[in-house]
């Protein structure tokens, strides 16, 4: 198979995938749940980045188990998507470079 077409197809796939990972990441609930223990008592906050600042929004002394699990899962997924997105971007750079080299030959 003409290698150029194969690389072109893979580049298209990687570009679409990068967009999809960005979209999936943006869909996750924003912020990270933080538990602060003050004088032995737990207090829950939602930490969110706003431009160059991190704001802590007070949520209460008790948090629903489901809510806790939701934020834990979204934190895990966000980290995973960030890592995979970095992989996809690396592929895009590699494929673009390979296609340029292919053109030069």
């Amino acid at each position: 198979m003409a290698i150029k077409e194969l690389l072109q197809e893979e580049l298209g796939n990687s570009l679409r995938m990068a967009r999809d990972y960005e979209r999936a990441s943006a869909k996750l609930p924003r912020g990270c749940l933080v538990k602060k223990v003050i004088r032995g008592r737990p207090y829950y906050y939602l930490a969110q980045r706003e431009k160059d600042r991190v704001r802590f929004k007070y949520l209460g002394r008790q948090i629903d188990e489901k809510e806790l699990a939701k934020y834990a899962e979204s934190k895990r997924l966000r980290a995973q998507y960030r890592r995979l997105l970095a992989d996809v971007r690396k592929q895009v750079r590699f494929l673009r470079k390979a296609l340029r080299a292919n053109q030069a030959v």
């Binding site: 003409a2 077409e5 197809e9 796939n13 999809d20 998507y81 995979l84």
Partner: protein
Amino acid sequence: MQTKQYDVCLKVLRRLEESGVLRRVVLVGSWCLVLYREYFRGVGELSAVRTRDMDFLVPKQGKMDQNVDVPTLLKDLGFIVGFRGEQGAMMLEHPELMIEFLVAESGRGTDKLKYLPELGMNAQPLRFMDIASSKTVLLHFGDVPVTVPHPAAFVLHKLLVVPRRREAAKREKDLAAALAVLELLEAKGDLPLVREVLVSFPAAWKKTIMRVLQDNGADHWAKALA
């Protein structure tokens, strides 16, 4: 094989196997060539030029015992749902692998995707796909048993779709894969199996296959299969 891709592939196949999905579907496309290495062990080598697409055919009789939401099943491996083409064919994307489900197109054919509620996915109907599930063989990816089209069915299916391919590169790829597998089938003494599958085809399909072989300088194969 690239280790990262192999690992992801193995994890996916294990999950599909544990959930009962893998027993009901047939792995089709260029990933079959990887599994054919087991079939042709001691006969010859197959070099598998493949993309990241991993396609599974859901045969008509492939009813699931229970519903399995495949996107949820693979979510924690990092797979996300993406959509391809104007119709919005669903695919599960990962930097190493892209998974899609297919069904055989029947009747006059349609552009409409088929929703598979038992898998939580939609599937693209493709012409001639039932050939891939008409004669299958169970091979292994690592320790996972995977049903793939018998190499004889694979060859004939590829030859049949060559003229329908719009892109020259894909035509070339299909033809090269078909001829490589055909050579190994002959070396293994399995050409009668190819003829056996071919005999069951309608006359128009046979004619197309013979024409593809003759037009591409493979007359000897056309004669061998006639």
